[in-house]
Amino acid sequence: MSRGVEVNLDNVWIRFGDFVAVREANVSIKGGEFFSFLGPSGCGKTTILRAVSGFLEPSEGTVKIGGRDMAGIGPNKRPTALIFQNLALFPLMKVWENITFSLEVQGFSKVDRRKRADELLEMIALPDQGDKLPSELSGGQKQRVAIARALCAEPDVLLLDEPLSALDLKLRQHMRTELREIQQRVGITFIYITHDQGEALTMSDNVAVMRAGVIDQIADGQTVYDDPATPFVASFVGENNVFRGTVKSIDGEFAIVDTNRSGELAARIATSAKSNLKVGDAAMMFVRPEACNIAPDDAPGKNRLTAMVKHEEFEGQIYNVFLEGSEGKEIKMSLVNIGQNRQSAEGKDLTLEYAPEHAVVLPAGELASE
């Protein structure tokens, strides 16, 4: 199959009337990469994808596929294939006709088409299901048919618009691995849209995190998780405890934040904030639940805080401990269950500690709403 080609968005703006759906998007996606757009509902993910597939012309800026400016080239002429949020299989065509519709368009004979359909059905592990109608398939099977239909056109870029959102959790996790496998097998560029951070992190080489039309950060999953560029990314990707305050002092990589309710706390300065964070700035400090631990003693420290335990949750491989935090929010701490019998600390004060390099400081900003 064709090798993946690169996709570039240069300063792309998309407006609907006065409403700005996408603001100054600069993205460069390498050939053969699995790239995800991650963001909450309504942040403009589908809109960006439509601009890449050609259903929408950007109001400003250029979309390039394989280095070629796509302005004025319609969706039927672009080397992309789109898998729709609702799959959009043709309900009145048999599965094999659905899969090979692109070949029908190109005028291939029925015999050839049938042969290709059987190959693809084999690949998606649905042999002998070609003569069914889409309505006779299960959700996961439809999903795979939609993938086969898109791959049949041998696109250079496959665009996927939350294709797993309609599936149940188990199937979704299974399809994640399957998608990733397919991508590695065919080697083409995948652009994947999701509001599920788990999906984005497990599958992607790189992730763009979007907030209300703005791309906040583009990086690999690990970086997005460990070194978020904005408070929005920090709070949207994974779980995070947030402490608001002001920067008290800066010492190289680290800063001390004078938090409103939990005293002075130390944390690493996020890479994006290194050059512009100053003493006295309003700041937010983030500590992930799994970065917290119970301190061996209750001596105070710049990486410790003491609060009352409100309740605990046992989840199997982890315990979640919820401490009373500021602004009505709880501080969450996740402890790995290593088989020791823990005494419940509910109602008591507890001192937790964390390694400052596992916490980040960012200039105060907008958080993801829960």
Partner: protein, 309 residues
């Protein structure tokens, strides 16, 4: 489920009062307004044409003479078939098919446009524009068409003024006015069923087809038309049935030479006073139309159940 159970469920759901009312209303509707009149027409069509005093007398027996008349003509006529009536019959059906196709060609794009563009004030105005002509009664509409298409009508005047023709075209004689009038009269019955199904067609399917490189005609051929088939067939059925059975428009707009079959039926009922013959002719028309519709549905693989959708 047994009939008794169905009935019990029905009454439980609607209550005794409303349930009874619904049952009686449906019964009256179906039996008194649909079945009985048609049965009596059927009965009529098999009777002799007798003066009133002899009705119910010894001469009042069943006969197929009227059906025979339609096919073979009057006994002792110089042709072996009733060429005149059969000719009109055939021409009426062909003309009705033609009107149906004309309406379909006109309405499909319009219905597609209405169905796929998402709402908006402009669309509502357009739909209103389509409905307003129906406030004007049929006769007025037909005569208006006569005026437009007449020798010194609007169209001829315009064509003459621009020098496109030298002599007025006789649209009435050429039946252009008739086809236009009939087509116009039933346009809504074609648009709305198609519009209804197309409105429920997921836009993403059209985009998916486009994304896979399909040109517009293939999108319609493979995606939209198959989906709209139930709407198309119910529209076509209604337009065909109604134009084959139309009376006013052919009466007013038809050329002098072109008799519509309904006009012959009307003549037998009215001028001829021969109700049995009129009934027989009408029943032949009805049955033929039903057969044509059913065989078309079979040809295009539409199920009756789909049409009600």
């Amino acid at each position: 489920m047994s009939a008794v159970q169905i009935l019990r469920n029905f009454f439980e759901k609607n209550g005794i009062g409303l349930g009874t009312f619904l049952l009686v209303a449906v019964f009256i509707w179906v039996v008194i307004l649909i079945i009985l009149p048609q049965l009596s027409m059927l009965d009529f069509s098999f009777r002799h044409h007798l003066p009133p005093p002899e009705m119910g007398g010894p001469k009042d027996t069943y006969t197929i003479e009227h059906y025979k008349y339609l096919v073979l003509g009057a006994p002792g006529a110089d042709t072996s078939y009733n060429v005149v009536d059969l000719g009109v019959f055939g021409r009426t059906l062909i003309a009705a098919v033609f009107v149906t196709i004309l309406d379909l060609i006109l309405c499909y794009p319009l219905a597609y446009y209405l169905g796929q563009s998402k709402g908006g004030g402009f669309i509502r105005v357009l739909v209103l524009l389509l409905i307003i002509p129906y406030w004007i009664n049929e006769i007025l509409r037909a005569f208006a068409f006569r005026i437009i298409f007449g020798d010194s009508g609007l169209i001829n005047e315009v064509l003459l003024t621009f020098g496109l023709i030298n002599d007025p075209i006789d649209f009435i004689r050429a039946n252009v006015a008739l086809y236009a009038g009939l087509g116009y009269a039933y346009i809504l019955l074609m648009i709305f069923p198609i519009y209804n199904v197309i409105e429920s067609l997921d836009r993403n399917q059209i985009e998916a087809a486009r994304d896979m490189g399909a040109p517009w005609w293939r999108i319609h051929w493979r995606v939209v038309i198959p989906y709209a088939k139930p709407g198309i067939s119910s529209g076509c059925t209604m337009v065909f049935m109604l134009s084959a059975g139309a009376l006013a428009a052919p009466q007013i707009l038809g050329g002098p030479s072109s008799l519509w079959f309904t006009q012959i039926i009307y003549q037998w009922f009215n001028q001829g006073g021969n109700w049995p013959r009129g009934a027989a002719f009408a029943i032949v028309l009805l049955l033929t139309c039903i057969i044509i519709v059913l065989s078309m549905m079979r040809l295009f693989k539409v199920k009756i159940g789909d049409i009600g959708k």
